[in-house]
């Protein structure tokens, strides 16, 4: 069965080719889509390749597309559906990485790292600090999916009091195991010193955290968003940061890359990262392994995992 793998040219393609020869001898690696026609039955791609109607039409035998990441916005889903092609992604091979990123942002705020760093670069030697410990803080997790759980597990060792909200409450023994207490959303917002958001973007969760929710939060609390930009009303967030001294850790934006003229980037108690919380050397390795193993399942005649279409 012919497997076509399209990779962005900035990856170490020669090394990957060597690996593929050992484990999937029918696999062919290309770095561009400028072929006229290809007889592949399986297409493996990253999010860097647009998989549109035109590309699909040049793959007349295509039966399965495997995207090697969680997101698959690069795929024209209507085109895939009309050809009855199977589409799979690799969900959550990055959950540990995101959980760590959240903790890094929380710690960077609590320990004033950015401020100290900048002061020292300016030639100053600050002696006073309002740095705080993570231990003993109330950490509110909104959304207890795979990432929320990993975060809760890791926080156990930091000595936080961890609370959560999720539309579906965990089993009592799971709550006990992770040392979690359930609260309704408003209560969680009011109680937490640190809030981290882990909800998927759906019509219901668009602007899920807006003015009303920011108003409930404690002054000076830390708000971290590594889920999706659209889940938060950005204007309300900016206001809350200005008026309530909320400190934010932002990895995701309503528009990416964002409009850098926005007031968001004039605020000094925000730490930014470029939608990269889930991207680490290790998580990329996990994505590759899971991609290869899922494609091999399909090639062997088994149902692949993580089918989205």
């Amino acid at each position: 069965m012919k497997v076509l793998i399209i990779l962005p040219p900035f990856l170490p393609v020669d090394d990957i080719r060597k690996i593929i020869r050992q484990i999937l001898p029918d696999g062919e690696i290309l770095t561009s889509t400028d072929f006229t026609e290809h007889n592949a039955e399986v297409l493996v791609a990253t999010t860097f390749t647009r998989i549109d109607r035109n590309l699909i039409s040049r793959l007349p035998g295509l039966k399965m597309i495997q995207i090697s990441s969680t997101g698959y916005d690069n795929v024209d889903q209507d085109a895939v559906k009309s050809r009855k092609i199977m589409l799979c992604n690799i969900p959550a091979a990055n959950k540990e990485s995101v959980a760590e990123h959240v903790i890094a942002m929380a710690l960077a705020h609590l320990k004033n790292l950015i401020h100290f760093h900048n002061e020292i670069l300016k030639g100053n030697w600050p002696v006073l600090t309002n740095s705080m410990d993570l231990a003993g803080k109330t950490f509110g997790i909104i959304g207890m999916g795979a990432i929320g759980r990993k975060l809760a597990e890791r926080l156990l060792y930091f000595g936080t009091n961890t609370i959560y909200y999720d539309p579906v409450r965990l089993q009592e023994e799971d709550e006990e195991f992770l040392g979690l207490k359930f609260y309704a959303l408003e209560e969680l917002l009011a109680k937490s010193d640190i809030i981290s958001l882990h909800v998927p973007l759906t019509p219901e969760t668009r602007n899920f955290i807006a003015g009303k929710q920011f108003n409930i939060m404690k002054d000076g609390s830390i708000f971290i968003n590594t889920s999706r930009g659209e889940v938060v009303d950005e204007a309300s967030m900016i206001k809350a940061i200005q008026s309530k001294g909320i400190r934010a850790g932002i990895d995701v934006y309503t528009q990416e890359p964002p409009d850098f003229s926005s007031d968001l980037f004039r605020l000094d108690n925000v730490i930014f990262s470029p939608h990269i919380a889930g991207v680490t050397v290790e998580s990329q390795q996990r994505f590759i392994t899971e991609t290869v193993s899922n494609v091999m399942k399909y090639v062997q005649g088994l149902q692949p995992l993580y089918r989205v279409l």
Binding site: K18, I19, R21, Q22, I23, L24, P25, F177, T289, V292, S293, M296, K297, V299, Q300, L302, Q303, L305
Partner: protein
């Protein structure tokens, strides 16, 4: 002498004993002179005990089974002995020749039944056959590949008269090394860019660990243990030891990606489950073994340990592999303390039982058992067949020669031959049993999650058993461990059998590619 006297006399001459078995009317005639008999409450358990004992001593052991039902009940264990390369001499009774024509109760063609599970099968025709067929079977059992042999004895033959001839017997010579091949392999090593060594179960079985270590020291290449090996492949505390090879082709290829020459001493490539990747494509693979399978690559017939000894003399060093220090075990154990994860349990076990023989049927925790407890000479045994229920009988058999035996077994596996605990108690065998109770078939859940998602939730993969009650009822002191695992001290105490049940993490591990 009567046939039954010849039977006992021959076993004595061959120094075969005790006889492990479960008797029936058909065997009563042949057992009249047998004094050293170990009763097992299921036929198969006697084969498992004999298998453990034979592997541990490297010499044959003997079993007596009750004709059709006893042999049929034991078939999985006979196959396991075959794959374990365990020299077990299996005997059984057969119906009286004078009425076999009528297909009497219990009669059957036993030689067809044992089929290819044994390497020699014979049914005695007369009293003269008793001495010669048993001696031939015993010698044959030790011929590489070592394995089970079978002789059946019709009831009437036991009443016939014949002389005991004292026929000469000698176990087969295995010290075979072809010096031309040694030179050839030395040259292959010299010409290769990056050789890797695999050390297999024959190394431990033929007592060649020292030769393997000396060779590895000199040549300097990484040494891996054979995939799914049934016993120690190498000394895992040696700095050249690079770990186990996993049985999946894809994982194997990834691990050995950079090696162009694979030298396999006394092992084979056991593969499971099926994965698309071909086996070690584009590499030169040479296996040196007393029992070549001719499955893949080049084969050289010979004693792998002695071959290495000769090779060490002429081989040129080809690197200086040092296993990177593994700092993960301690922290993994600490992290898993609150979940009663197996790494936590096994690090505690290691402290108390580091010099014990380990008999492993921990199934989903087997990789962790190998990693945490390591390999030493004659220190690790597991069933090569994948059959469950082997460990308790095998541990019992080994404990007859070495009182320091720790069996580590899953709650599912324990139940296949749980009445072996009765034999352990009856004969005061000092086996220590650690049951890792995860309330079900964890490895099958893991397999389902990887290949057939959803099935892991099936009710037929989860269950509870009251192991404490069951085990105590068979007469073995049993306790449950709490979070501290202080009960491991109790488990180790004294030379009496004890069972400790530890309720371990029930979350589904990821074990398959």
């Amino acid at each position: 002498m009567k046939g039954y006297e010849l039977f006992a006399r021959t076993l004595k001459d061959l120094r075969l004993g005790p006889v492990f078995g479960n008797p029936g009317s058909t065997e009563i005639p042949m057992l009249r002179e047998i004094k050293d008999y170990v009763l097992t409450l299921h036929d198969s358990i006697s084969v498992g005990m004999a298998d453990g004992l034979a592997q541990y001593t490297g010499t044959p052991s003997v079993v007596n089974l009750h004709t059709l039902p006893g042999v049929a009940n034991s078939m999985a264990f006979i196959h396991t002995a075959r794959l374990n390369r365990s020299p077990v001499v299996i005997t059984s009774g057969q119906q009286d020749n004078r009425h076999v024509y009528y297909d009497p109760l219990l009669s059957h063609d036993l030689l067809s039944l044992v089929g290819d599970a044994v390497k020699y099968r014979y049914e005695a025709r007369n009293a003269e056959d008793i001495e010669r067929s048993l001696k031939r079977a015993a010698m044959k059992s030790l011929e590489p590949p070592m394995g089970p042999v079978f002789v059946s004895f019709p009831m009437d033959v036991m009443e016939e008269e014949s002389d005991y001839l004292g026929l000469a017997w000698k176990y087969p010579n295995t010290a075979l090394v072809d010096m031309n091949e040694v030179e050839y392999v030395a040259k292959c090593i010299e010409e290769a860019a990056s050789p890797a060594i695999i050390s297999g179960s024959e190394i431990d079985a033929y007592g060649s660990m020292e030769d393997a270590v000396n060779f590895a020291e000199k040549v300097g290449c990484p040494v891996y243990a054979e995939p799914l090996s049934s016993r120690a492949g190498f000394r895992s505390d040696n700095h050249r030891f690079a770990g186990d090879i996993l049985p999946a082709t894809t994982a194997m290829n990834m691990l050995l990606m950079k090696n162009d020459l694979i030298l396999n001493f006394g092992g084979d490539f056991t593969i499971y489950p099926y994965l698309q990747s071909p086996l070690l494509p584009g590499k030169k693979v040479i296996t040196i073994s007393l029992s070549p399978s001719f499955r893949y690559g080049e084969f050289i017939t010979g004693h792998p340990g002695l071959f290495m000894r000769e090779l060490t003399k002429i081989v040129k060093p080809k690197g200086d592999f040092q296993r990177p220090e593994d700092l993960s075990t301690g922290s993994a154990a600490a992290r898993e303390r609150r979940t009663m994860g197996v790494n936590f349990v096994l690090q505690k076990v290691r402290k108390k039982f580091h010099d014990y023989v380990i008999v492993d049927e921990a199934i989903s925790s087997s990789v962790a058992v190998r990693k945490n407890l390591g390999y030493r000479d004659r220190s690790y045994f597991t069933a090569k067949s994948g059959q469950l229920g082997w460990a308790t009988p095998a541990a019992a058999g080994i404990s007859m020669k070495n009182p320091r035996v720790l069996e580590i077994i899953g709650d599912g596996s324990l139940m296949y031959t749980v009445q072996a605990l009765w034999t352990i108690s009856r004969y005061n065998l000092p086996v220590k049993v650690l049951v890792l109770d995860n309330q079900g078939y964890s490895i099958l859940k893991s397999f389902s999650t990887s290949f057939y998602p959803g099935v892991e939730k099936a009710p037929f993969l989860s269950f509870k058993t009251d192991i404490v009650k069951i085990s105590e009822a068979f007469g073995v002191e049993t306790r449950e461990g709490d979070e501290s695992l202080d009960e491991l001290d109790w488990l180790a105490e004294g030379e009496t059998a004890r069972v400790l049940v530890v309720h371990v993490d029930r979350s589904i591990p990821k074990l398959f590619f």
